[in-house]
């Protein structure tokens, strides 16, 4: 089935490097979310896209983090000058629209495990 896919599944990088994480949402889903899950914690909201625009980026921790969704489908999360504290699993989710309801659930991808050495 065509679920949410994320690439790469694993990324190891050195402190100070730049990384890009990609998310392919379910076709037709207009809403896309990025979350970050640190060890032993639940997912933490980063940013929400409705179509091409970032409707809520209140969860981005600082200006090293940036995300785009230029055509309203694939999204890329970009992290500049990575730090060891950025190590986490980055999860992407999509839903038909941004409204929450029992019939409009968020479907999550398997995540990208980022390790910053």
């Amino acid at each position: 089935g065509a679920g949410v896919s994320q690439t790469p599944s694993n990324k190891v990088t050195e402190k100070g490097k730049y990384v890009e994480l990609r998310c392919d949402p379910i076709s037709g889903h207009t809403a896309l979310y990025w979350y970050r899950q640190s060890l032993g914690q639940g997912p933490e909201f980063l940013i929400y896209f409705q179509g091409t625009g970032a409707a809520d980026d209140s969860g981005l921790p600082n200006d090293r983090f940036f995300a785009v969704r230029p055509e309203g489908s694939v999204s890329t999360l970009k992290i500049q000058r990575t730090e060891r504290g950025d190590s986490a699993v980055y999860l992407c989710a999509s839903s038909l629209t941004g409204s929450l309801s029992y019939y409009n659930e968020q479907f999550f991808g398997p995540g990208t495990r980022l390790t910053v050495l």
Partner: protein, 113 residues
């Protein structure tokens, strides 16, 4: 500031018995609550949800109860099956128009055969 808390990191129950997972929240603006289930190396999958206008929602073996005055919700699984063994996350939203979710830390459920 942990707005959604799951105070039990783990729970172990016998197959066929009831599993009760608990969740507390602090933000009175939350109006929609969800439970997600997560297996290792997979993303969370939606299980069941409840709107703040209800106090109970049932779907097969899964029932979610909401006590707004206590700011508490719980997930009941009856009967528990070994395949239910996973990490369960409680999540809440203060604006159901955006879908932004605030998650708890998770509870690892182990159902023993």
């Amino acid at each position: 500031d942990q707005q959604v808390k799951q105070n039990s990191p783990s729970l172990s129950v016998q197959e066929g018995r009831i599993s009760i997972l608990n969740c507390d929240y602090t933000n009175s603006m939350f109006d929609y609550f969800l439970w997600y289930k997560k297996y290792p190396a997979e993303g969370p999958t939606f299980l069941i949800s409840i709107s703040s206008i209800k106090d109970k929602n049932e779907d097969g073996r899964f029932t979610v109860f909401l006590n707004k005055s206590a700011k508490h919700l719980s997930l009941h699984i009856v009967p528990s099956q070994p395949g239910d063994s996973a990490v369960y996350f409680c999540a809440a939203s203060a604006n159901s128009n955006t879908g932004k979710l605030i998650f708890g830390q998770g509870t690892t459920l182990q159902v023993k055969p």
